[in-house]
């Protein structure tokens, strides 16, 4: 048993933290996150240059580390800085392309290097996080596939060069079987994007696919392998988002403790009041538990069920704890915590909205229970 970071991981953490500390004040972050593009092409290029995208991938995938702990470490650091750059899209798109085999190596390399931006489009208007709910259709043709349908709330889709799409080759809308996973160039004919701002900063978009003609090699996986790939990709999202949430919680923890010591009422710092002390201790304890959940999820054991359970346990834990931390941080800051001016409000928003990506607390509770029956 060993909880220490390896030397390489410590260096990686230093690199990201130093870059973000130097280049990424909260006001700059807000300028970028709430801008027309929701991210900064320049910051993205600089971070990719530092190898931070490549750190999410294994050597076989063209990266240099890419274990669960590396992914968690990168996303925790991104969370601490509230960084809206499209790292999640890169991670998930890259993992999907890597599963697609050698013919996707060029696109994979361009994702790993940060040259191209990726997005994954699994959510639909009626799917409510259920990966198998796919109404978008893929019709086999003589020259490949025709895709028709809609995809909802695709993170950073407007910025994306490559989009990973789930579509149905056969069967009913909620079947696990009959799915196909496709890699699509964002500028392909018939693909329309309706781009909008996220409540917490960054951008997403609605995707409309009308007779999008794909060559046969666009298919990354089909049949049982397609659903399995969906779950694998979602699993990476669970880990990354849980770690990002943890980073945000750490920031909210420190700023709330600082505020409790600073803010005077009734002639004393409000941190002298036992009612607030006990609530703060509960948050600290819950955040320690959330860190343990992320560590458990980072080990990514080979056993598929065990791995999926750990990932759902982590996403469930950070969803429940994240909401509590966000609400309590705002409450203990009082009126000032409600203001756009205070960083707390922006951290709290992202923390809460993370629950709305790749399954909320209820989704993961139900999934954990299902997995426990296996």
């Amino acid at each position: 048993m060993d909880f220490k970071l390896t030397e390489d991981r410590r260096m990686l953490e230093d690199t990201i933290s130093r870059f973000l500390a130097d280049k990424y004040s909260i006001s700059k972050r807000n300028d970028i996150a709430y801008s027309e593009t929701g991210h900064s092409a320049q910051i993205w290029a600089e971070m990719a240059e530092l190898g931070i995208v490549a750190a999410l991938f294994t050597e076989i995938e063209g990266g240099f580390v890419g274990q669960g702990f590396d992914i968690a470490l990168v996303f925790e650091a991104l969370g601490r800085a509230l960084c809206p750059e499209p790292f999640l899209g890169a991670l998930l798109t890259g993992k999907a392309l890597a599963a697609g085999g050698a013919e996707h190596a060029d696109w994979l390399n361009s994702i790993v290097s940060g040259e191209k931006i990726g997005a994954v489009a699994f959510e639909e208007d009626q799917s409510h996080y259920q990966l198998q709910h796919v109404a978008t259709s893929a019709t086999k043709t003589a020259s490949g596939y025709l895709i028709n349908g809609n995809k909802a709330v695709v993170t950073h889709v407007e910025a994306a060069d490559i989009i990973i799409i789930s579509a149905r080759l056969s069967g009913n809308v909620d079947d696990q079987s009959g799915l196909g996973i496709f890699a699509v160039a964002a500028d392909i004919a018939g693909l329309e994007i309706q781009d909008y701002a996220n409540v917490e900063g960054g951008r997403s978009g609605q995707l409309t696919l009308t007779n999008v003609a794909l060559p046969p090699e666009a298919l990354l996986a089909e049949g049982d392998a397609a659903f399995e790939l969906l779950e694998t990709i979602a699993g990476y999202a669970h880990l990354a988002l849980s770690a990002e949430a943890l980073g945000i919680m750490e920031v909210l923890k420190f700023s709330t403790i600082e505020f409790l010591n600073l803010r005077q009422q009734f002639g004393v710092p409000i941190g002298k009041f036992q009612a607030l002390q006990h609530r703060m201790v509960e948050l600290v304890l819950d955040i320690e538990q959330a860190r343990s959940a992320v560590i458990n999820a980072s080990t990514l054991p080979c056993d598929k069920i065990d791995r999926a359970k750990r990932l759902s346990a982590a996403k469930l834990t950070v969803s429940a704890t994240g909401t509590k931390v966000a609400e309590e941080a705002i409450q203990m800051h009082g009126g000032i915590g409600m203001t756009w001016e205070m960083p707390v409000s922006h951290f709290a928003k992202r923390l809460v909205m993370i629950e709305h990506l790749f399954g909320d607390e209820d989704y993961h509770l139900a999934r954990y229970i299902e997995l426990s029956k296996v």
């Binding site: 060993d2 909880f3 409790l260 941190g271 036992q274 002390q277 006990h278 600290v284």
Partner: protein
């Protein structure tokens, strides 16, 4: 970063398992599994078996007979003992008094008392709490007045666990009333058989007898039974409270309780289906299981810090709060899992050869009793509210 036990740790685990398999009486384990309480003789037998193996005082310094285990080994030992339903080591002599004697006792005291703890000659109990000194321990009033070669002790202790099994008690007594309250407290070793010592049982909520009141009326205690310096007892008391708290989370007990709960939920039926398939009950189990999995890693992280030389400080308080919450939740779920069968009350039943009326499944016999008894967990050893005060002050600087 590696969450798995190392090969050496796995080998150690196998060694512990094999010892338990050979030595732990099966009937005793079966009785404890059903929520029964071990008798004095059974506790002494288990202590003696552990002592033969050199494991009773495993956490003592090696020159005093300790096993030289790492914190992780101690964790594994506790985990395996709990999974096998071995009795818990009675902590008062082995884990509470002994570390104080080793750090602060005189050579004569160490030479006299430590071997007697190891071989079971003495059964110690803890005289800390008083009717007016619970969470506010420094309010102790029991007085010890020096008269020649003796202290004369008058006063009352309460919540004294297993005092009715004990022949010795270590006490916080007041030897000075001036100055700060903490500065007038001394740490005294007293003979329970001495004239003027009286024990009265306290029957707790579930009907059991674990705790007692202990009264002292002009009890003569030889001055050589003072540990350390007079009026410096608060320091020793605090040391005792922070020592060996790395297993305070009770992860082993909770893992065993969760296994028993899941087994029970599979056996119990609702609408002809196992209770474990009921979505509401399944959700309750899933939540506590996830909390426990997180807690286990939190506990191991603290152990890793301790192994790296950090003193367990306020982290033990966090472990105590979360660990007791989880253990209480598990007893609560076990009670619910038994449905109406949690109601019948057969305190004398120990599961083994119980000839009472057929009142339902055996694991229902003590489910409610254990639930009520376990309310104590968040009260004793420093209530969970006191633990939060400690964390707020020590860790958060509030």
């Amino acid at each position: 970063m590696d969450l798995n036990f190392s090969d050496e740790e796995e080998a150690f685990r196998a060694e512990v398992q094999s010892f338990i398999k050979q030595k732990l009486p099966a009937e005793l384990a079966a009785k404890l599994k059903l929520g029964g309480a071990p008798s004095k003789a059974e506790l002494e037998q288990w202590h003696s078996l552990l002592n033969e193996r050199g494991w009773l005082v495993h956490h003592w310094p090696q020159e005093y007979g300790g096993a030289g285990w790492s914190p992780v080994q101690a964790f594994i030992f506790d985990l395996e003992c709990r999974l096998a339903y071995a009795p818990a080591i009675v902590p008062f002599g082995v884990s509470m008094l002994a570390p104080v004697l080793i750090k602060y006792g005189s050579d004569a005291q160490k030479k006299h008392w430590l071997p007697r703890i190891v071989d079971g000659s003495d059964w110690w109990c803890q005289g800390y709490s008083e009717p007016g000194a619970g969470s506010d321990l420094a309010a102790v009033k029991t007085s010890a007045i020096r008269q020649g070669d003796h202290y004369i002790v008058n006063g009352q202790k309460t919540w004294t666990t297993l005092a009715h099994f004990a022949n010795m008690i270590f006490c916080l007594v007041r030897t000075a009333t001036e100055g700060k309250r903490q500065q007038g407290i001394s740490f005294l070793l007293m003979d329970m058989k001495a004239p003027g010592v009286e024990i009265k049982p306290i029957i707790t909520i579930e009907g059991g007898h674990e705790v007692n009141e202990v009264f002292f009326t002009d009890v003569k205690v030889p001055v050589e039974n003072l540990v350390g310096e007079e009026n410096n007892g608060w320091t020793y008391a605090k040391y005792l409270l922070t020592y060996e708290r790395t297993n305070i989370a009770g992860v082993g007990s909770s893992i065993a309780a969760l296994l028993a709960l899941k087994q029970a939920a599979k056996q119990r039926k609702i609408n002809g289906r196992p209770l474990s398939d009921d979505p509401y009950f399944a959700a309750r189990i899933a939540r506590v299981e996830i909390d426990l999995e997180n807690m286990k890693t939190t506990n191991l992280r603290v152990l890793a810090d301790v192994a790296a030389g950090a003193a367990p400080g306020a982290e033990s308080s966090l472990l105590k709060i979360k660990g007791t919450e989880i253990r209480q939740q598990l007893t609560s779920l076990m009670r619910r899992a038994m449905g109406a069968h949690a109601i019948p009350y057969f305190p004398e039943a120990d599961g083994i050869g119980f000839n009472g009326p057929n009142v339902g499944p055996q694991n229902a016999l003590h489910a409610a009793e254990e639930y009520f008894n376990f309310r104590k967990l968040s009260i004793f050893g420093g209530s969970n509210e006191i633990q939060k005060n400690i964390v707020a002050k020590m860790m958060l600087g509030l």
